[in-house]
Subunit: 155 residues, 2 copies
DNA sequence: CGAATAGTTGACTCCAGCAGTCGGGTATTC
DNA sequence: GAATACCCGACTGCTGGAGTCAACTATTCG
């Protein structure tokens, strides 16, 4: 899991499309203007988003990008994963037990993978649509369960 | 919220102390050896951990560090926060609406702060003791609730 | 006392990766 | 065929993390 402005920008741009595309594709110039992100940078990001199949492009005048699927069908996690490179495996990362500590799984290994999973689940369960159509959020009640599940594994 | 090997190392080291300290302080040399982290780097980290009041030090021969509190009383979150600097505010971070987009709160703002909170809650609810005394974990059931709370805010 | 141990501090180097830019493409529309 | 807008790769600057080094201070123990 990784979070940078890259991922943030991508999500913002996707939301922008969701909000302003009325069937018509939305040009990067518009997005750049509205979201205050340089167009050149957006081009980079949208290259990846397109390859990931999250958006479709239309060239020529009147062209731009449109969402490949319903916004209620695009989890935020997909966007992040598409633009943020799969961070290099530093010691203890992902599910593989590559070089944790002396070839063995380090004592905190499960903690990190659990955290990563937690984040992915969270961002995977929230769609573009969710982000657009809501304001003020709070979550708290889930905490206790989170701990329960960590301490006394289900599997 | 930020995650780097810094935070990981710190947690590993703290666990190491928790496991090997039988009343006696544990020296950095030992930890460095067992966890395969350079001692010089550990020195840096422990400087912060000490200032944060998470460990106590004893100098001289036979010296080292010991946990300032019971391991069941040290949430992982505290450790991370102690060593990972409070990341600089890039555009849209923390709770402040500094420079999101043109002075206004950007459309994804709540999403990020919610994610950060989610991580903090998770790591804040897990103590050193939890990490040590468990294996294989899974959490999943919390996801649905997380989404509920995001989409239909309680407050 | 003095030597060995081990924490304390601050400055320093190295480098991957992010943020952002530029220039030249190619497809499409009108 | 001109304007629009996506497409692509290369390039730059720089921050911050990872790790090193050296000199210092406090404590123990013989």
């Amino acid at each position: 899991m990784k979070m940078s402005t890259k991922g943030r920008y991508a999500v913002m741009a996707m939301i922008d499309i969701g909000e302003h595309s009325a069937g018509q594709p939305v040009s990067l110039a518009e997005i750049a203007e509205r979201q205050d992100i340089s167009q050149e940078y957006l081009e980079q990001l949208f290259g990846k988003l397109r390859k990931a199949g999250l958006v479709e492009s239309a060239r020529g005048p009147g062209g731009g990008y449109r969402l490949a699927r319903e916004d209620s069908d695009i989890p935020v996690a997909d966007i992040i994963v598409a633009v943020d490179e799969p961070l290099r495996v530093t010691r203890c990362e992902g599910d593989a037990v590559d070089g944790c500590v002396k070839g063995q799984k380090c004592c905190a290994h499960d903690l990190w993978s659990s955290l990563g999973r937690q984040m992915m689940y969270f961002l995977g369960s929230i769609t573009l649509d969710d982000v657009v159509s809501r304001r003020n959020l709070a979550l708290a009640a889930t905490v206790k369960q989170a701990k329960e599940h960590y301490v006394r594994p289900v599997a």
